[in-house]
């Protein structure tokens, strides 16, 4: 193998794992009794524009399946959950992060899926194939996507 390529690959692996190490893994997230997650999962600021995309995209957060978010340009927004317009007037950033990571800490028994959880699940599947998962599941959103969605939610102010 070409030595330069090998070293470059090794360096890239280190860089990736260094970035990863700064992230809080799904199992390590700490919730307050009220369901808040006070610390950023990545230490990097979230990008509201990317968060908007995550919220509107079916294969990502798919928040619009259950929530009306007037700021998003997505057809057929659902009403399983409350409208998210003005969410930042009602909730703090730590609270919103807690809801996105795992809403069941804020709303007991909620039907809202936990976006940053890797298990345990009952009969986990391989995406939407109906087949068994082939290995450990990645969370629905990665740590930075969670931060991006939280940053987007923080822009939803009505007052």
């Amino acid at each position: 193998m070409n030595r330069h390529v090998a070293w470059a690959a090794l360096a890239a692996t280190f860089a990736a794992s260094a970035a990863f190490a700064a992230e809080t893994a799904p199992m390590d997230v700490k919730f307050t009794d009220a369901g808040e997650v006070t610390d950023s999962l990545t230490g990097q600021p979230g990008d509201p524009a990317k968060g908007a995309e995550v919220a509107a995209t079916k294969s990502l957060g798919n928040c619009v399946a259950c929530h009306v978010v007037s700021a998003l340009d997505a057809a057929f927004q659902g009403n399983i959950g409350p409208e998210l317009n003005g969410a930042a007037d009602r909730w703090s950033e730590a609270q919103l992060r807690g809801i996105v990571v795992d809403a069941k800490h804020t709303f007991e028994g909620s039907v809202m899926p936990s976006m940053y959880k890797t298990g345990p699940f009952i009969r986990p599947g391989d995406g939407y194939t109906g087949k068994a998962a082939t290995g450990d599941l990645a969370p629905i959103l990665n740590a930075q996507q969670v931060e991006d969605v939280v940053a987007f939610l923080m822009t939803l102010k009505e007052e």
């Binding site: 057929f76 399983i80 039907v111 899926p113 699940f121 939407y128 109906g130 629905i140």
Partner: protein, 270 residues
Amino acid sequence: ALSSAALHAEMAEDELNINGDTPIVTKAPAAAHLEGHLDEVYSGWLFRTDDTRAMEQDDFDNPIMIYAEKGMDNWSVADGSEGKSCADCHGDISEGMKGVRATMPKLNAKGELWSMEDYINDCRTNRMGAEAWGWDSGAMHNMTVALSVQSRGMPVNVKIDGDAAPFWEKGKEIYYTRYGQLELSCASCHEENYGNYIRADHLSQGQIQGFPVYRLKNAGVVSIHNRFKGCIRDTRAETYSPGSPEFHALELYVASRGMGLDIEGGGVRP
């Protein structure tokens, strides 16, 4: 969950009367075993658009009748080593099969829980010497639709006590299990959220007395177990297979949630 007044606003005020001569009960007080869960039960038909509902009002407009006719034609065609047809033993389908769909699934003589598909295949393999039909094969769909039409307007009549009770309990447990990465149970969508929209889909109570149904999306017939499979898959779970013990038990339990409603004998759904 929303108040029931809000939910009613999301349902059609309409009555189903197929061909103007077969009234179908689509709303009824819930069975006693649903106390604390549902007060009233509703057919999925009430949650569909005006156009889709209209298709089920008249057999000329209901695409499932093409399949029913194929099934009725096959009723008197001999097949297998015994050279017999269904009609040879059961007579006219409208007499021999009247009310049968409404009692399904039910225990066979050996105490196994069987769906209509199992009874049909038992006759084919053990009485006709013919090949079993696949659960979701065209021939099976045609026959289950043809049989269901014979129970139109008859109330769901499943037995859930006695020897059936353990199956019913198992089905109930499955109904309330939160499957998959999305951790959603049948109840998350069809008990807590019927009347609401999940994206573009208007959630019904997920009742099965309209089955088999014609789905416009698939341009074909969908069996009860196949619908269950799709709903579990949508929770990002490993689903169960049509014909599995789990889906037999779930079919009995879900059928019992529809007690009070009438068999539609070929529903139309989006």
